[in-house]
Each structure stands twice: as C-alpha cells, then as structure tokens.
Symmetry: C2
Subunit: 367 residues, 2 copies
DNA sequence: CTGAAAGCGCTAACAA
DNA sequence: TTGTTAGCGCTTTCAG
C-alpha cells in the first residue's frame, strides 16, 4: 500500500513503475513497448498498453531526456514574433513537426545579439534535441560551438560561410533579379533599392540581384538610389522618405528588400502625395499574407515561406534521427507575383521620351 | 582523471559537479547559489559563480525538473498559428515571459478537439510549469483534470462555467454593443451579424451585445440576418454571400464577429459588386494588425490582444510562484476604432425615408 | 553556512 | 523476450 499512489487522495504522478506493477511487467519492458522496441511479445505489449490507458500514464519528459531518451522537442529561434514572415515559416514548421510528433520551444531574440547567442548556448540545456534558426543575425558567433557539440540545427533563410550547416533558403539573387528586371521592362530607369539588414545573407544576395539586373538591362546604377534598410517598416519608410526628399529627379520605382519595408515605402510615398502605382511603383519581397491585403495589392517576389519552414523541420528531424547525415543545402525557387503596385513610369515631358529610347534596346534583348 | 571531463576530447556536458570541483564546493552548495538561496557566504557565492562563468556551465533543464526544481517553461496552447489574433496575443505573452525569464512551448490544436485535449493531458509531461490556453474550444473536457492536479493555467479569451479558472478576457458584450449601436446611429436598420464559433464564450457574448444594442436602438431583430460563422475568413465569406444572395431586402451593414470573418464578408460584398462602405458597411472585432492594412481600412472593435497575453502570462507566473493564490478574472476594455469601412446607408427610394423615421427617435434616446 | 546522500522517472547495458 | 541494475544531473532533506 505504499507503492503506487493507491492511498493518497490527490495528484502524484503516475510513473512507469505504476504501469509496470499494473501490467505485471518490469519497468524496462514498459519502457520498451513505449519506445516501440521490436522484440516484445505481442501479448505483453497489449497488457502494457492496456495498463497505460487504464492509468492514463504519460511519460515524464524530463526523466526521459535525462535518461538519454528522445525529448521530441525542438527549439525555434526567431528574431521576433512579427506576424507575416516568421509566422508563415512557423506554420510550415508546425506542420512538419506535428507529423514528426515533436513539440516546439520558442525562443525570441528580439534582434538582440546577446539574447540570440544566450539562447543558443542555453538551448543546449538539454530539453531540446535540435535547433531551427530563422534568419539569425549573429550566427557566426555560435555555430562553431553547436557543431563542436554535434548539436543538430538547420538554418532558415541564412547562410553559413563555412558551408558546414544545413540550410534552407530561397533563390534570393534570382528573385531580386526578376523583380528589378520586371521594373526595367516596365520602362523604369530610376529604380531605388531599399536594402535589408546586411548581416543576413539574403539581404546581400538581393542587392546583388538588383545590381545584376540593372546591368543586364543597361540601366545605370546610381549609388544615391541604394538606400539603407533593416527589413523593418520604419526603416523602409525612412529610406523612401529620404530618396523622395533628397534625390532629384526622384525614382519612379522602389524595390524594397522585403514586403515589410515595402509597406513603409508605401507610407512614405503617400505622405509625399504620390499615388501608387501611377506616380511611383513599389515592389516587395517575401509575399507575406499582408502583401495581398494592402492597397494597392503589393507586387512582390514570392518566397515559399511555409515550405521553407516545413523543409527545414523535416531536415532537422532527419539529422536528429541519423546524426551521420551530412549537412544539406536546399534552395527553393522564388516567383514574381504581379499585383497592383507597379506600372510603367509616367512619361514626363522631355525626360520621358528620352529615357525610354535610352533603354529601349536592352529591353528586347533581355526578354 | 575519470571524474570531470578532463580527458575526453569533445563534448560531454559540463555538470554541476564540474562546477563543484572547480570551485572546491559541493554540488549542493553550487545548487544553492544557482537557485539564489539566501544563506550562502558571499565569498563562496563568488567562487562558484566564477567557476560557472569559467566553465560555461548551463544547468540541465531535464535534470532540474526531475529533481523538483523549476523548469521555467510554460506551455501555450493555441487553436492555430494564423497571423493576427494569435500572433498578437503571443507577442504579449512573449514579453511577459521574457521578463519572468521563462521559455515557451507551443502547442497547436489546429482546432481539433482530440489534439486539444491530448495536449492538455500530455502537457502534464513534466516539462511545463503552467499552461496558457488561448480561446480553447473544448476546455470543459479537461479543465477539471487540470484543477485536480493543481496544475496552474490561465484562460485567455474564454470563460469557464465553473468560475474556478483564472481568466483574461475583453469586454465582448460591450464591444459588440458599441459596434452595433454605432451602425444604428449611422442610420442602418438592416444589420447582419456573422456569429463566431459558439463554443467560444466571446462569440455568445458578442451575439448578446448585438441583440441588446438592436433592442436599445429600437431596431427590429431579424433572424434571417443572424448568420452562422466560425471566426474564419471562409466562414465570413459564406455567411455574407448567403445573406446577399438570399435575403431581400439585403442588409446595409454587416457586423462580423471578428476581423477575419469581416475580411471574408468584404470579399463577398465585392464579389457582389458592392462598394464598401458606399453600398454596404462592414465592421469587425479584434483589430488585428491586418485591419488597418485592408482597403478600405476596417472599422472594428479593438481588443487589447497584446495586453491580454501579457496579463495572462503574468498571472500564470504568479500562480506558479504562489499556488495558493485564488483564481482571478481580468476583463480588459474594448474600444471602437472608426476607420473607413462604415458609412450611413444609401437612402433608397421609398424605403430610405421610411426606415429613417422609423428609428429616428431611438437614436437620440440612446445617445 | 556547507556537505552527504537519497532519490525524481526513465533508458540502456548486461544478464538471464 | 524480459528483468536487474546503474546511472542521467539536479534538488533537497538531514546532519554537522
């Protein structure tokens, strides 16, 4: 009468031993059937499961982890919880993980380097079997450590200079190239570019794509049209406001490195009394859910966010199950989504005609 | 040479014993300083902390939990990961939890009753110290169990018939009342109402508010204008399409139980060739971030989602720290946010004048 | 103020 | 195929 909690009036957890007693087996056997061990007699397996059901037994994760079993819990480090980008990726992760029967611990770095590395360090606190890193900004700080400890992780939308990480990303260069070329083909020759946070690989790739497309379309690259940004709405607003205020002639189109900063650019354009897309075209990157909600609907480069999350989670689980798997790099295709925020530039007096002919030749070439 | 990992070439976790050795203390003492125990000599505390730093020691969560310590991890059960409602609440939770130095495990029920209760049951797996339930739909199924086990939890945006739960909610009744009355005052007399999922308390409260406002404004309640909905965009679309197709005369305004279904209603209205707000007014509830992004900007009832999340998380932490605290109910105020999706009804031929006078009296009365 | 020792609930050899 | 027996790393009496 002192073993299982047959006496006490309330709680006190049902342990594997209770199940063992109830089923007349040892705890080791119970553990075996619970972990799906192959060589257990069918009848014992049934007896055990019955007892499990009957007692409403739920394994203790801490105990299991401590003893070296799988916690089926993985960590997700995100820069923030903004709806849109992170949320969409997370949905994909959630789907994959629920298939893999794993839970998710959420760590938010709030863009702070200290928090980011703190979490990664602390994350090896043992509850988590692997780590998903969404666009980490200071990865170089701790990636080595993770590898030294053979701790499984996958980078989402971020590169690793050493080439030793599993990565899921999209064709950032190509996407930016496509967006820029689309604008060029529309006839724009003064296309401003709002950069992303340059410590994120995607941001530099997109910049590269922008430059390359300009070159291929024989549109001169103008330094004053390349603006600093940080992937945030306010940053986009400031950048756009800056060009609109200070550069003359002003751009007829703005390519923002992500949708969020495109929204900021839209704010600035409107504040300037400019109508979109008649007075100025704006194009984004990501195609977050909000992109088709804003007015006018944002033309943008679609990044398969959800798929990226899903792929990353699947890769991580594979690596956890089989640590010998080599790191893998998956690159998913982006796609230009044409909506309502871009139009040919308004032909202005003298300038218009002139510009048009200036780039006319290249247009047919690049098409 | 076999104790601490002085020999092995790689990983193998730094344990509390390593710290103990390094600092010349026992593991018990190390544990004491780490858990902030008061009666430790200042000098030993320093010695220990030094060793901790030096070795880069991070406590093992599983071990700590198993041994009865705090895991500083709380569970969050959400119906889904849609950006907007859940995301905003989560931001508030994240803030509070990061202040309280706690981590978050995310459980998504995907609106499935089985998953919902499965998680709640399983959640007592020991890793989590408490549970935050966002608009759970089948809470009655397992709330008793949670209470029996003295497992701390807080309901967000959901009621508990027994009155024994800690709850954070908004003034759903009043918010719906305000929205409806606003529409009435604008002159609408045919106001459709798209209900929410009625197994969520907020949905029935909002319906009550709608009816009460109608009554107070002496606007007749018409059953055919009360539509089924489920808080989803598609549901809102279908409901709106249904009234617009089948009810004659059609409503001049639609009050959707939440913003998401309002978006669906907007889709349906536009599909009908109706212009918002000229031909039909639409009002929502929640004020999720997207509400001010859509075109026209949605007039809605603001629910302080982020604050709700924050308050709930704080309450939960308090209850974890001091389990003797009685359950608490916090009700935050909603607020009507007037944007661009509502206008006075178009006065139609004979009908217009007539209707207007019909309710004219009540308008001044209720104001 | 600090140390010794007994587990927390589970898994993983190692036997049987 | 199943049982025995060590721990996993930490907290917590109970002594000192």
């Amino acid at each position: 009468m002192r073993s299982a909690n047959t006496d006490s009036k309330k709680k006190s957890r049902v342990t594997i031993n209770d199940v063992a007693h109830a089923s007349g087996m040892s705890s080791a056997t119970v553990s075996r059937v619970l972990s799906g061990y192959e060589f257990v007699k069918e009848s014992t397996r049934n007896r055990v499961m019955e007892a499990v059901e009957q007692l409403g037994y739920v394994a203790s994760l801490p105990a299991r982890s401590l003893a070296g079993g799988r916690s089926r819990t993985i960590g997700l480090l995100v820069p923030n919880l903004d709806v849109g980008y992170v949320g969409t990726i997370t949905q994909g992760i959630d789907r994959a993980l629920s298939n893999a029967n794993c839970d998710l611990v959420l760590y938010t770095s709030h863009h702070q380097p200290s928090k980011e590395s703190y979490y990664v360090n602390t994350i090896a606190n043992g509850i988590t079997e692997g780590l998903l890193l969404v666009a980490p900004q200071f990865a170089s700080t701790y990636l080595d450590m993770l590898r030294e400890h053979d701790f499984p992780y996958v980078l989402i939308d971020q590169a690793d200079a050493t080439g030793n990480s599993s990565i899921v990303e999209a064709t950032n260069y190509q996407g930016a190239y496509d967006a820029t070329r689309y604008l060029c083909k529309l006839g724009h020759t003064r296309i401003a570019f709002i950069m992303g946070a340059l410590n994120v690989f995607s941001a530099v790739e997109r910049l590269r794509g922008y430059k390359a497309a300009l070159a291929d379309c024989v549109v001169p690259l103008r330094q004053e049209l390349i603006l600093e940004g940080d992937y945030q709405q306010l940053g986009g607003y400031r950048a756009a406001k800056h060009v609109l205020d200070n550069v003359d002639p002003p751009p007829t189109a703005i390519f923002a490195s992500n949708d969020i900063s495109a929204f900021g650019a839209m704010d600035a354009a409107r504040e300037h009394g400019l109508s979109i897309p008649d007075d100025i075209s704006i194009i984004g990157f990501d195609d977050i859910p909000q992109a088709s909600l804003v007015y006018p609907k944002l033309t943008t480069v679609r990044q398969p966010l959800e798929q990226m999350g899903q792929a990353a989670a699947e890769m991580l689980v594979e690596r956890i199950v089989d640590p010998s798997r080599p790191p893998q790099r998956v690159t998913l295709a982006t796609q230009l989504v044409i909506r309502d925020s871009c139009a040919p530039p308004r032909l202005q007096a003298s300038e218009g005609r002139q510009r048009f002919s200036e780039t006319g030749g290249s247009l047919s070439t690049t098409d």
